[in-house]
Amino acid sequence: MSEHRIRFTLNGEAVDLTVPAQRLAVDLLRDDLGKTGTKDGCSVGVCGLCTIQVDGAPMSACLLLATQLDGTAVRTVEGLRSPLQEAFIEEGGFQCGICTSGQLMAADALLREKPDATPAEVNDWMMGNLCRCTGYHGIARAIAKAQGAR
């Protein structure tokens, strides 16, 4: 079993630590670095609860080894400052809340990558972030509101 020194930025702050090869990014973030806004749901990359941004791109923290974060800029929901957050509150973009941080991180990446996304493009982008309360209409309204607020 090998150990690896990894250095990356987490929400703009430098991180420098040593991890065993098999450490998962989601466990590193939650258990070692205390960023528990990133949830571990299905653990197989399907549900979107653990969505983080790596160099701006949305990814599943449950499918990344911690070593894959070396040299990157990582953002979790704790580092998010977006009109999306107010919009989710105003439009009721969540019910139980377990999926919300993943929804926000995916939607934030969308607003940067495709700021003028049509409702169909929004649905396509957000399709992989599941809400078991099925609060999808509220989420869609919140994203549309945040698009308009820009």
């Binding site: 079993m1 090998s2 090869a21 998962l24 990814m59 499918l63 080894l65 070593t67 399709m127 992989g128």
Partner: protein, 283 residues
Amino acid sequence: MRPFDYLEPATLEEALALLAEDPDDTLVMAGGTSLVILLKQDLIRPARVLGLRRLAQLGAIESGSAGLRLGALATHGALARADAVRAHAPALAATFAAVATVRIREQATLGGNLAHADPAQDPPVTLLALDASVVAMSKDRARTIPLEALFVDVFETSLEPGELLLRVEVPPLPHGARATYKKFLPNTLDDYATVSVAAVVAAGADGRCTHARIAVGGAGPVPFRAREAERALVGSRLDEAAVREASALAASAAEPIDDLRGSAEYKRAMTRVWAERALREVA
């Protein structure tokens, strides 16, 4: 997850040398979307994992007179967005855009996709219809493998121990050819296809078919070219009767199994239906 040794070479030469040291017990990781799941579920137990992420040159996407050269580390997202891919065949860019979710597309790579060899994946089907091949390299040699010969069985390729998949080469389309990829998703949009069909068809000035390549995914242990269907189509007028005949032949070449995405009988029937839809679009 069981412990393993992780290796992250800085050069291709170093990667090939490390792979040659212990080829049977070293697994190659590109994006990791499939490998990490297999590791977590204890379905594979490698002594060593060789991560390719520092070999940035393997992510290049290039086009020229010989067609497209797609680096093994290019992500599905990068390939879907690449002007070179869209210019070559919009259907190929659309195929990459149809894979799983945006998160997977940003992490998973072309080379990882092909080496994983799940028969229900999308890119192999369109790449088969585009007559693609792959270049693999070991410490001692490089060789070109037609894509059709890469897939041996479910999760099994003809890559030899010590070989690394470097890139995919896609030749230019026949003059005037049209290409399409049809993915049948009766469950959710992020699912693997129940069946999928890619078709590349060209016709001469007289309206008769000059080239036809049809590939099918999800309907057997490997994605396959429906060669009898192709032969039936070439020389035909590409009318509804020809489309139906070729699609029935494609379905009869399928060897599907019963699983969560449908019974074997259903998948065979859907192979015919989706071959018809694909062929009508390009005929």
